[in-house]
């Protein structure tokens, strides 16, 4: 990789010496496949993550056809699905369940987190703190390939006899242990790979942020994105291991005949199970949700970080309430560990412990509101540039607001009795993750694409992508609240047809289906833009957005070692429109004027 050496004449000699001393031509494999460079690894994560997002989206598009027109042969791809999944192109319930379980698993673990943390975190964070790379480059490389193995395992499960996992992304026993096919074993093994990858990555992120900050970059001068990644890494570090343990336990239940999760006296289809018994299905739920709740904050925090960066840059103002934002996300991270049983209100726990979890759940909404409010207040009096990243970042705010607010009745047990396991839940969490996180991730792609490639993405295609997506996505998820409030259960392969009380709600399935396919169509401009701009995008220099954070002082794309001159930070991360300054942005890396 060449370094566009337009640094000052008296560049830091130390850096140059090492460049010359260690400059060996790396072979293709060492340079592009098993690279130790965080930028290459970040791009590997990002592209793999985006591909899995697309794949998970495709699964959902097929599901929505079955839900809109239950029992009809699936057009176009029906014949390719095979008789085991869809004889005569008509989806079998088992296949629907596979699609559902894998859609969730793939989107969360193979799509969003690898893109948000592995992709953006890896690529942007070291640049934003002025580091030459991550603290442990070899560990970083291993993290990606372990993730890759997990992804391959998950993907492969579709093609084995019995198909992929089909007990929900939540894999509750006894169903997942006793009834589910071997795809569940692949799921468990895949999860163990993915969790290991995340654990190795989180250690790397925390050490890098603590140890490799540039001179002058104190903690309270860190870009908000970095704070978000730091908290996220702690969540991954401490919350994932219990699920890894649980995965091993369920694997043993399936393969070694243990009964960690199988109670005594269980009878299935008239036959009592020949296991030792003495297990507890709730044990799985606790261990699973102990991770899965912090996991949702893993999904949202990097997104909030990206939105913060994009908003500051496109309002030409500092972020409002920087300190409040930092303390809010730290508090959020801590609280996320003590709310998990709000996913288990219907499991018969005592009212005291239930009250505890309801209370902590209500409290955890406060830091989220603080973050959202700070972002909104940042818009007041701003000179807003409605660039494509800014459009996505702005849309994030009300979409995340809807998602967050609709979570409140779910966090209170009395209302949760009616809403649990209905489409209301699906509407709630998709609002936070889809028009929430994924929109923020799109903002991040448009925003940092010039840093990674030296070229801008096309604004027209970007705006088509945005407007089509924001309209379509609301028609996908808003009706789900109506369906859920009407009592329509989730995870039903016939769209709820079999229950009389759903009769008036079925028409929404068609609305949702059409909107989902429209949403899919509007991703095409993005895909074309993403790959096309790599070749034909407008060439730009280091700082096309006139931004203030450190990554914009490096060349676009940065070379080996990232910075031509050793970076020094002189001020806070968002010094936009400083009174008396010659331009409307004063980068953090620009020396004091005499």
């Amino acid at each position: 990789m060449d370094t566009t050496a337009t640094g000052t004449a008296h560049g830091h000699e130390h850096a140059h010496e090492h460049d010359h001393a260690h400059h060996e031509e790396l072979g293709f494999l060492r340079k592009w496949v098993f690279s130790l460079d965080h930028k290459v690894i970040g791009i590997q994560y990002a592209i793999t993550g985006l591909l899995f997002l697309l794949f998970g989206f495709t699964l959902m598009m097929v599901m929505r056809f079955q839900l809109a027109y239950p029992g009809h042969p699936i057009p176009l791809i029906g014949p390719w699905l095979g008789d085991a999944n869809a004889p005569n192109g008509v989806m079998l319930p088992e296949f629907y369940n596979q699609l559902g379980a894998m859609h969730g698993t793939i989107m969360v673990f193979l799509g969003v987190v690898p893109l948000a943390v592995g992709g953006f975190g890896n690529f942007v964070m070291p640049l934003q703190i002025g580091a030459p790379d991550m603290a442990f480059p070899k560990l970083n490389m291993m993290s990606y390939w372990v993730y890759f193995c997990g992804g391959v395992t998950m993907f492969a499960s579709f093609f084995i006899q019995g198909g992929a996992a089909q007990s929900g992304w939540t894999s509750y026993p006894p169903l997942s242990v006793v009834v589910a096919t071997n795809g569940q074993v692949y799921w468990l093994v895949g999860m163990i790979f993915l969790i290991t990858s995340s654990l190795l990555g989180s250690v790397n992120f925390i050490v890098t942020i603590v140890q490799l900050r540039a001179k002058g970059l104190s903690y309270m001068r860190l870009p908000f994105f970095v704070w978000a990644q730091l908290v996220t890494s702690f969540l991954l570090l401490l919350a994932f291991p219990p699920l890894e343990a649980a995965g091993v336990l369920q694997l043993m239940d399936r393969v070694a005949g243990t009964s960690f999760f199988l109670p005594s006296g269980l009878v299935i289809s008239g036959k009592p199970l020949t296991v030792a018994g003495g297990g507890n299905p709730l044990l799985w739920q606790h261990l699973f949700w102990f991770l899965a709740h912090p996991e949702v904050y893993v999904l949202i925090l990097p997104a909030m970080g990206i939105v913060g960066e994009v908003i500051a840059n496109n309002t030409r103002k500092p972020l409002w309430g920087y300190k409040a934002l930092v303390y809010a996300v730290i508090f959020l991270g801590f609280m996320s560990f003590i709310v998990w049983a709000h996913h288990m209100f219907m499991t018969g726990m005592g009212t005291t412990i239930s009250a505890f979890f309801q209370t902590t759940t209500m409290i955890i909404s406060i830091p989220s509101v603080i973050v959202l409010t700070a972002m909104l207040l940042s818009l007041w009096g701003a000179s807003i540039r409605f660039t494509t990243p800014m459009l996505f970042a702005l849309a994030f705010l009300p979409m995340f607001g809807i998602g967050g607010l609709t979570g409140l009745p779910l966090g209170l047990a009395p209302s949760d009795i009616h809403l649990h396991d209905t489409y209301y839940v699906i509407g709630h969490f998709h609002y936070v993750v889809a028009p929430g996180t994924i929109f923020a991730l799109f903002a991040g792609v448009y925003y940092w694409f010039p840093k990674a490639t030296g070229r801008m993405m096309n604004e027209t295609l970007g705006k088509i992508h945005f407007w089509g997506s924001i309209v379509a996505i609301n028609f996908v998820f808003m009706p789900m609240f109506i369906q859920g409030l009407g009592g329509m259960n989730r995870r039903m392969y016939d769209g709820g047809m079999q229950y009389a009380h759903n009769a008036g709600l079925l028409k929404w399935n068609i609305v949702i289906g059409v909107a989902a396919w429209a949403l899919g169509l509007f991703q095409l401009p993005f895909i074309v833009n993403f790959f096309g701009s790599m070749k034909w995008g407008k060439l730009v220099d280091r700082n096309p957005w006139q931004a203030t954070t450190l990554e914009w002082s490096a060349p676009s794309p940065p070379g080996h070692g990232n910075f031509v001159v050793e970076p020094v930070v002189y001020r806070g991360p968002y010094e936009y429109s400083v009174p008396g300054a010659p331009s409307d942005f004063t980068p953090s890396f620009e020396p004091e004027r005499s």
């Binding site: 989180s202 401490l238 890894e244 343990a245 009964s259 003495g278």
Partner: protein, 194 residues
């Protein structure tokens, strides 16, 4: 391009990268074994009866002494390296690994004894959690042996090039090893005695 603070500590944190890294990793391991201990408690509290006397207290106690001894030899190995006595340090690493191997051999006898009677993890909830806890712990012992073998063998070349970095690696391995010992200090009474 060099990553700073690989060996010398960063002034404001007072840490070298690897020191922080290994402690964070150990924190995650606390949560991993914590989940299994939580499993043990939940299953035992929910059990009508819980077996006693099914495990060999003698073998368990012997293994406890072995592991404690190996912890001593591990930290002494690091101390010797700090005193620039490379061959003594290397010897203590090897002794630690050998003690660890003896631990595993004892475990093998314990497991074989159960299996010969058809008492695998499927036999009861107690044995299920016993095999899982000790099995995972045993895998960690194995991992430690592999790292020690590397440090005493092919990895020892680093001492010539960068003795401080080598000593740090031994220290981090030691921290991991003491953690493995720590887990056993709780495993032994919980599984064998209570």
């Amino acid at each position: 391009m060099e990553i700073p603070y690989t060996v010398e500590p960063r002034p404001d944190s007072g840490l070298a990268n690897g020191k922080l890294g290994i402690w964070l990793f150990l924190a995650s391991e606390v949560m991993l074994f914590g989940a299994l201990f939580s499993t043990y408690i939940l299953l035992r509290v929910g059990a009508v009866e819980w077996p006693h006397g099914e495990l060999s207290v003698k073998l368990g106690a012997i293994n406890t002494f072995i592991l404690i001894a190996s912890s001593v030899t591990m930290v002494v190995a690091w101390a010797k390296l700090k005193m620039n006595e490379f061959s003594k340090g290397r010897l203590y690493i090897i002794v630690t690994a050998v003690l660890a191997l003896v631990f595993l051999v004892n475990k093998y006898f314990e497991y074989a004894d159960h299996f010969s009677r058809g008492e695998g993890p499927w036999h009861s909830t107690f044995l299920a959690i016993y095999f899982t806890l000790t099995g995972l712990h045993g895998l960690h012992i194995l991992g430690g042996i592999v790292v020690m073998a590397y440090l005493a063998g092919p990895g020892a070349g680093l001492w010539k090039k960068n003795p401080d970095q080598f000593t740090n690696r031994v220290e981090y391995t030691g921290l991991y090893w003491h953690f493995v010992d720590l887990v056993w200090i709780f495993l032994f009474p919980v599984l064998y005695l209570l």
